[in-house]
Symmetry: C2
Subunit: 296 residues, 2 copies
């Protein structure tokens, strides 16, 4: 039996992960509630005593907007928190596995002709959040190159599912469409609906994490993606059809982001080759599940 | 006239840099003594008021051994300090130039057949110090990709010169040889004298920094190196001849580092092509200057 220590287990993805691990037969160990990864002494004490085979490090502040307002806070949590965790692993768990959860944001503005982006692409982080993940990757990899901890990195592209906060794009669309149906209001204020992103179902994402932890090569990074892109307008159309509502899109200049990248899509060649991962959930079904929960 | 803000101006390299800048006609601005780059509020206040064109960011804890003992301290200074500085630049100095001083340590254990190492090599940091520099690079680059600050990165290989603390390898050799001549003691305890490193004169290094700041392409990293490697035993022979002393080398197992890389040498193709930099100081002259200062 694999003993899995999970940080960030109380977040949206963390909840899916610990259920997936438990149902796969792993023993799940959560961090004590209130443990702050920025507190080196607390982290080292915990790691000195903890018994586990794999550490899934999900805990992070992942709000891009907040990272512009309070970069220090995001770096402190995402970078120093990771540094403390890595010190705990390097001191007490050299034979363990570390899965560091990074983000496709580390790639930044990839030129259209380099899509789908592979793991070898240069990192060009454009937000403090992205830089905190790119920096965290270096610290997680140091645990491997310097101390022999078996580190692997997952670079997650967009993902969604039931329970994701409505501040994220897809649940935001779904809840506003359900509301439009209820209220009879027929217009939806949107930003740049032409943007294309690579969306996965969160249930596929956590399955990918476990596969990477089990089969990924130490010192390597893996894209966790669908390998396809969908535009925001395609997602709205799909969700509107499921909800059964007709809406007019009304572009709100306030919602347009000046530096928005037109398309992001990740190559899944490496994760497929090394771990056998293949996405299982069609995005239409993901949306149907989310609509069903709100409009049930 | 170029106005240059220099962090770390009170260190070994910083002293050489501010003298080189001043003698090149730049205006040098030092940080107030006692300013701690970890203090976000202090850093932002300073950057709101400071007037400069280029920021040379040298301030860092560069002691590899300490980074193993106190990784948190090194990450806090080298990573969060850089994050605060980047926030100051992104908020108040978007049109400025940032030169981030990184280290050849970010490359880690480069396979022999990939030497001399180029800037495209994968980063494989093996010490917390190396990871703090690799992480700092990502944060410095984010200032460019996200806020348009004209960031360039210098990856410095080994360098030495008069005034470097004797805890570093070359001044350590020189001072022990001078002492051997004085005392008549004829044996020198050494570690792995076969290790080959790429040594530059600190005066060349600071000249390279100014050239990169002047001519380097934003978003790019540049090796600052000699392009050649010297073994520790070659350096001992050269220095012993200058001092005029004959010593027997006595290998001390305590001084052998188990994970020592046999050779590191940096490619200077990119810095030569983009900035016109060429090393001027022959290493023999560097050593002669260091010996002269101690044995004058």
């Amino acid at each position: 039996m694999v003993r899995a220590l999970v940080t960030g287990s109380r977040g949206f993805v963390g909840g899916y992960l610990i259920r997936h691990l438990a149902s796969s037969g792993d023993e799940v160990i959560e961090l004590p509630e209130g443990l702050d990864l920025r507190e080196r002494g607390d982290v080292l004490r915990l790691f000195e005593e903890a018994v586990f085979d794999v550490c899934y490090h999900l805990a992070a502040i992942s709000h891009v907007g907040l990272s512009w307002e309070e970069p220090y806070l995001v770096y402190e949590n995402n970078v120093l928190g990771t540094a403390n965790l890595v010190e705990g692993l390097s001191r007490f768990h050299r034979n363990s596995r570390l899965l560091f959860i990074s983000s496709s944001e580390v790639y930044g503005r990839v030129p259209q002709d380099s899509l789908p982006v592979t793991e070898n692409a240069a990192l060009m982080p454009a937000t403090p959040y992205a830089a905190s993940k790119a920096a965290g990757e270096q610290i997680a990899l140091q645990a491997f190159f310097g101390s022999g901890v078996s580190t692997v990195v997952a670079r997650s592209f967009n993902h969604t599912g039931v329970g994701q906060p409505a501040s994220f794009v897809v649940p935001g669309i779904v809840s506003r469409l359900v509301e439009a149906k209820r209220s009879g209001r027929r217009s939806l204020r949107v930003g740049n609906v032409a943007s294309r992103r690579d969306f996965s179902d969160v249930r596929d994402v956590v399955r990918a994490y476990r596969l990477i932890a089990e089969r990924g090569r130490a010192g390597e990074a893996y894209n966790v993606a669908s390998g396809k892109s969908l535009s925001i307008s395609e997602i709205i159309d799909m969700a509107a059809a499921i909800v059964g509502v007709d809406v007019d899109l009304e572009v709100d200049p306030e919602l347009l982001r000046p530096n928005d990248v037109p398309e992001i899509v990740g190559s899944i060649e490496k994760i497929v080759a090394d771990t056998g991962y293949l996405p299982r959930h069609d995005f239409h079904d993901t949306l149907a599940g989310m609509v069903g929960r709100l409009d049930g």
